[in-house]
């Protein structure tokens, strides 16, 4: 799923400083699961915004809401009236949802409430790790099911590097060295010899270096009227 973190409150306050009626809208999918953009966080942030305004002697009205997925035109349509009625929209979706809101409601001032960080998963309650970089050319079939592109600080395809220390990455002793993990995994699977295969340079054009990317499933595309 897409993981996103809350923006610093000061930044949010700054963005909304001119507005009197704000629509805070959460997103019911990825960011709900990662506990930063769901209905619950909408309520907390709304309360925080009102408290901050109260402390400054300012008045602000906050409308709280959440949409199943902000990255679907059909779902965000339901917000049409309330968006028109507010001075600003603070979207607690990932960057995709925020853009969808902005694109669908071109007259509205739409702001992001989150910083979209990575594609990952909870490894335990409240802890999220990056697991995929969206490189567009998956190689984990040969690396024991572990992704060196997203999980190695250098995205090395032939690791580990000399910075691997006691199973951890030199950048932080809380970050496991994925190449150390790949080694252990291949050992478990009795495939250690494959470590000796040199992976040639990767074609990075399928990845983030080639913005904006697009996918078309011809068999599903419907003719426009």
């Amino acid at each position: 799923m897409i993981v996103a973190d809350s923006k610093p409150f000061q930044e949010i306050e700054q963005m909304l400083s001119e507005y009197k009626k704000v629509y805070i809208v959460g997103c019911g999918s990825c960011v709900t699961i990662c506990h930063t953009g769901g209905e619950k966080q909408v309520a907390e942030l709304a309360s925080k915004i009102r408290l901050a305004a109260k402390l400054k002697g300012k008045a602000i009205e906050v409308i709280e809401d959440s949409i199943l997925r902000q990255c679907e035109w059909e779902f965000i349509e339901e917000a049409k009236d309330v968006v028109a009625d507010c001075d600003a929209v603070l979207s607690l979706a990932c960057g995709i949802g925020v853009q969808y809101m902005a694109e669908r409601f071109p007259n509205a001032r739409v702001f992001p409430g989150l910083n979209t960080t990575f594609m990952g998963a909870p490894t335990e309650q409240g802890v999220f790790w990056e697991r995929c970089a969206g490189c567009g050319n998956c190689i984990i079939g040969s690396t024991g099911g572990l992704c060196p592109v997203s999980r190695c600080a250098k995205s090395l395809l032939n690791g580990p590097c000399g910075g691997s220390q006691n199973g951890n990455c030199e950048i932080s002793n809380e970050t496991p060295c994925v190449w150390n993990q790949i080694y252990d995994q291949l050992d478990t699977q009795q495939l250690l010899s494959t470590m000796e295969n040199i992976t040639p340079p990767k074609d990075w054009r399928t990845g983030a270096e080639n913005h904006p990317r697009k996918m078309v499933l011809e068999h599903l595309v419907m003719k426009k009227e």
């Binding site: 409150f9 019911g28 699961i33 619950k40 309520a43 925080k48 009102r50 408290l51």
Partner: protein, 694 residues
């Protein structure tokens, strides 16, 4: 304090009913009134009891409480003392809960007998809007409760109190009026009674065909109890033997003991475990010094000069045969003698149907009971209904109440040609027995003992032996309730399958059942509320509205006008599991400035509620939770700590002084430790306010 709604109105998700409710013949809302007591909502709890039960004072004392037999707390330690909690309510919070109903219907209903079934029928019919008259042969109400049950178990003012509330609904009781003597069924019909409900009970003792039964000193159990209960005494000898192993036998023995003979014994066919009465009654009987002879049967009564001298007994081989029918067999040659100068036969009751002279149409069973339809309680004579012991043969108090209640609906349906139903009696699945793996996760909580009269005091009077629960004991006992069937449920339309509930539940209850994409929370839920707060999709809530998790009460608090003038105002969220005593220590400062919202487990409280309190006008929020080792749910301490830190961080970001939001873990919410914390916090907040002003 305002409850959202004390009734279980939303049954959509309450698909599994608590076994305590299902076990009760009247489907008393046992779980919910216990839960209300646990929250200190005593009036609401009494109201809930009384809505279903016309004789709470009696039920709280002498009910055989099948609810407790089925209580799921049996799996972890001991059942909740549900009946004693009901008695606590009726002792302390009995009040009129209905205004006198109007006469919605023209028909008059006659009820014969002011015992449990008759009183229940009269109450319910009066509430529907019928004019009801009870014809009672005695000069006082209660039927067998008054004539049969000894006062040391059921003081008469307990009966009178409940009956007075029934009379206040407009029910008239005509005392000293015997059917067959002062009034007749035909006469009542002629007087214009549209329906007659016969609930006369069983007032004769069953006879035993036994050699020597004619001797002086052989008494019938019911007659004996009746005499003592009306006259305060009865003529007995010095060495009393009661024959019988049921509740009436125990009553006879303990009553006889209070007349101060030299010795009282009980002899019964059954082995100790087979005796048809509660273990508690047997224990009390033994505790009072009565000797119990189990597995002995009477062969003949011995006498001399026309007077009883003893009972010749035989040892019992078995009481019930292979078909489980009552068919006692004895060992030959096992004769033995129990000496006695008085023998009381308490081997069952039977009817006295002499009032049915000239009523040949009314069908009577071979056992001497009136035959009535089990659903409608209609007898073979149109317009005449019957219920209670006279139909059941031998029923319990609640079974008789249930018959009266059901007959009331049936009479109404017949008179109005309606098909009214009481949904409480609908068949519902019950919450299953607790999974073995979960038992060790639930904290064991000692069952509260009933304070009892000392042995010396007991035997010198007919005073009530059980003294009743204090507020503190009642709340402590009620807080043991696991709220079966009313815990958390997942709205499958909202759940996004994130697994948070599965991860946070301290009891491992939520699960993803095979093939399902939303979480399922089963009947073992303990209602801690952690999953409800942590669910990011807000897909989980409690099945009943008894638990508002503090939000509604916070709203109510800020709706009070006087709150605006309270400065500083501190809202205290506290754990009610730490609040047992009715005597909360307080002082003028705390009284004025600290408004308390108690919640059964602070794990239920959303951190945003603390922000709301500040947002809506509180100058400070004080959280007082239980200490780690005192947590009822064993696991909330960490969560409360984490959430407090989280809210503290938010307030820090807003530049607020950390002294306005404090969390303390204390062992009692009512003692001076709390008072000191609260008083100090008022001072802290006052100084924060003065700094902010300057």
């Amino acid at each position: 304090m305002v409850m959202n709604n004390s009734k279980m109105t939303d049954t959509k998700y309450t698909c599994e009913e608590a076994p305590c409710v299902m076990a009760c013949p009247i489907r008393q809302d046992a779980r919910d009134y216990v839960q209300l007591i646990a929250r200190g909502l005593f009036k609401e709890a009494y109201r809930l009891v009384r809505e279903r039960n016309v004789l709470p004072s009696s039920c709280g004392r002498i009910c055989t409480h099948p609810c407790e037999t089925k209580c799921r707390r049996n799996s972890t330690d001991a059942p909740i003392a549900i009946a004693w909690l009901k008695r606590f309510l009726s002792d302390n919070y009995s009040e009129k809960i209905y205004t006198k109903p109007g006469r919605n219907y023209p028909e008059k209903i006659a009820i014969i007998g002011a015992g449990p079934a008759g009183l229940a029928a009269a109450n319910d019919l009066a509430l529907m809007g019928y004019s009801c008259t009870i014809f009672e042969s005695n000069s006082t109400p209660g039927g067998m409760l008054r004539m049969g049950v000894p006062t040391y178990r059921l003081p008469r003012n307990a009966i009178d109190k409940d009956v007075a509330l029934i009379q206040q609904l407009g029910v008239e009781i005509k005392y000293n009026t015997t059917l067959g003597k002062d009034v007749t069924l035909d006469g009542l019909k002629k007087e214009g009674y549209a329906a007659i409900f016969i609930s006369v009970g069983l007032f004769d003792s069953r006879n035993l065909t036994l050699e020597g039964i004619q001797y002086d000193g052989v008494l019938k159990g019911i007659d004996f109890l009746r005499e003592v209960n009306s006259a305060g005494t009865a003529k007995i000898g010095k060495n009393i033997l009661v024959i019988g192993g049921g509740a009436v036998a125990m009553d006879c023995a303990r009553t006889a003991l209070r007349l101060k003979p030299e010795k009282v014994s009980v002899a019964c066919l059954e082995a100790r475990k087979e005796m048809p009465t509660t273990d508690f009654e047997i224990e009390e009987t033994l505790h009072e010094g009565i000797k119990l002879y189990n597995s002995v049967g009477p062969k003949r009564i011995l006498g001399k000069g026309g007077m009883v001298t003893g009972l010749e007994t035989l040892r019992v081989k078995y009481v019930f045969d292979e078909q489980k029918r009552f068919n006692p067999a004895f060992y030959e040659g096992s004769e033995s003698i129990i000496e006695a100068d008085t023998i009381i036969l308490a081997i069952g009751q039977t009817s006295n149907l002499s009032f049915l002279k000239n009523q040949e149409g009314l069908q009577i069973s071979r056992g001497g009971t009136i035959i009535a339809d089990p659903n409608t309680f209609a007898t073979s004579v149109p317009g005449i209904y019957a219920g209670g012991d006279i139909v059941l043969g031998r029923g319990t108090l609640t079974e008789c109440l249930a018959q009266g209640k059901k007959a009331a609906i049936s009479i109404h349906n017949s008179l109005r040609n309606e098909k009214r139903k009481d949904e409480k009696w609908a068949d519902k699945p019950e919450v299953q027995k607790m999974a073995d793996s979960r038992v060790p996760l639930v904290k064991k909580e000692q069952k509260q003992d009933m304070p009892m009269l000392s042995l010396g005091e007991r035997l010198n009077s007919f005073d009530e032996v059980e003294l009743g629960f204090s507020h503190e004991i009642a709340v402590r006992e009620a807080q043991r309730c696991m709220n079966c069937g009313a815990g958390a449920f997942v709205d499958e339309n909202i759940c996004i399958g994130c697994i948070t509930c599965v991860r946070v539940c301290p009891f491992d209850v939520p699960e993803f059942r095979k093939g399902e994409t939303t979480a399922y929370i089963g009947g073992d839920c303990q209602s801690c509320g952690l999953c409800i707060v942590e669910c990011p999709a807000k897909a989980i809530s409690f099945k009943t509205p008894l638990e508002d998790r503090g939000r509604e009460r916070l709203k109510t608090l800020f709706a009070e006008k006087s709150i605006k003038n309270t400065k500083p105002l501190i809202v205290n969220f506290y754990c009610q599991y730490g609040s047992l005593s009715g005597n909360t220590k307080s002082n003028a400062v705390v009284e004025k400035h600290v408004k308390r919202i108690g919640i059964l487990g602070l794990g239920k409280v959303d951190p945003s509620l603390y922000l709301n309190a500040l947002e809506w006008g509180a100058d400070g929020v004080l959280i007082t939770a239980c200490k780690e080792d005192g947590c009822h749910f064993c696991a909330e301490y960490d969560w409360i700590k984490k959430r407090s830190e989280y809210v503290g961080k938010i307030l820090k970001e807003l530049g607020m002084d950390s002294r306005i939001f404090q969390t303390h873990f204390i062992s009692s919410q009512t003692d001076t430790a709390f008072l000191d914390i609260a008083t100090q916090m008022v001072k802290d907040v006052e100084s924060v306010i003065s700094v902010n002003k300057s």
